[in-house]
C-alpha cells in the first residue's frame, strides 16, 4: 500500500518541476498554511502543480511518511523537498526562494 503511494508521489515530483501538496486547491485552499504558500508561489510567479491531499486519504498520510514531515503543505522543487509553510515564508522573505527557483531553472515567467 504505502509503496504504491510513495511511487506515485515519486513520479509526480519527478514529472512536475514544482509540486505543492496542500489542503484544497490553488483556487480554493482549505487551510491557512496552504493558502499562504499558494500566495507566495503566485507572487513569485512560478507555475506549480497543486495536489489536494484532502481528496485522497492514502496520499494525505503517504506524503507525510514519504517526506518524513508531519504536516501539510509540503513544497517540492525539482524532486527535492523544500519545506512547509514556515520555511517557504522565511525563504521568500530573505529572497532565497526566488534564488532557488532560478537555480533550479523554474524561475518566474516574465510578465
Amino acid at each position: 500500500m504505502t509503496d504504491t503511494v510513495h511511487s506515485r508521489i515519486q513520479a509526480e515530483i519527478t514529472e512536475n518541476p514544482v509540486v505543492l501538496y496542500m489542503k484544497g486547491t490553488p483556487v480554493f485552499p482549505q487551510c491557512g498554511f496552504s493558502a499562504r504558500v499558494v500566495q507566495i508561489l503566485s507572487h513569485v510567479g512560478v507555475p506549480f502543480k497543486g495536489v489536494n491531499v484532502l481528496e485522497d486519504m492514502e496520499l494525505r498520510e503517504g506524503i507525510k511518511s514519504f517526506t518524513n514531515w508531519p504536516t501539510i503543505p509540503q513544497l517540492y522543487v525539482k524532486g527535492e523537498f523544500v519545506g512547509g509553510c514556515d520555511i517557504v515564508m522565511e525563504m521568500f522573505q530573505s529572497g532565497e526562494l526566488q534564488s532557488l527557483m532560478e537555480e533550479k531553472g523554474v524561475a518566474a515567467k516574465t510578465a
Binding site: K23, Q30, C31, F33, N68, W69, P70, T71, F81, V82, G83, G84, C85, D86, I87, E90, M91
Partner: protein, 91 residues
C-alpha cells in the same frame, strides 16, 4: 498555558539545551476548522533559539523539532508553526 504547551516547552528545552523556548497555543483561532478539536490543544506556534541548530539546514532543524515532539503529533497535535534560530541569527 495549556498542558500540551507545557509539555512542548519542556521537551524542547530538554532536546536543544541551552534553549530559549516560547510556545503559543493558537488553537482558539482555528476552532471549528478541520483538525481542531473541541477541547483545543491542536494548533501551536513555537520559537526556539538554541546553539544546537548551528550548521543545520532549515529542514533538518524542523525535523529535529518534529522528532522531539513526535508524541504530541501522535496525540492529536495538528499544526505546528516553527521559528528556529541560533543565538547569532536571533540577534
Amino acid at each position: 498555558m495549556s498542558r500540551r504547551a507545557d509539555r512542548i516547552a519542556a521537551a524542547l528545552r530538554a532536546a536543544f539545551p541551552p534553549a530559549e523556548v516560547e510556545v503559543a497555543d493558537d488553537s482558539h483561532r482555528h476552532a471549528g476548522h478541520a483538525g481542531a478539536r473541541p477541547e483545543g490543544e491542536t494548533h501551536y506556534s513555537v520559537r526556539v533559539v538554541s546553539p544546537a541548530f548551528a550548521g543545520m539546514s532549515r529542514v533538518a532543524r524542523s525535523r529535529a523539532v518534529h522528532d522531539a515532539l513526535s508524541a504530541e503529533f501522535a496525540g492529536g497535535m495538528h499544526a505546528l508553526a516553527l521559528t528556529l534560530k541560533t543565538p547569532e541569527e536571533a540577534r
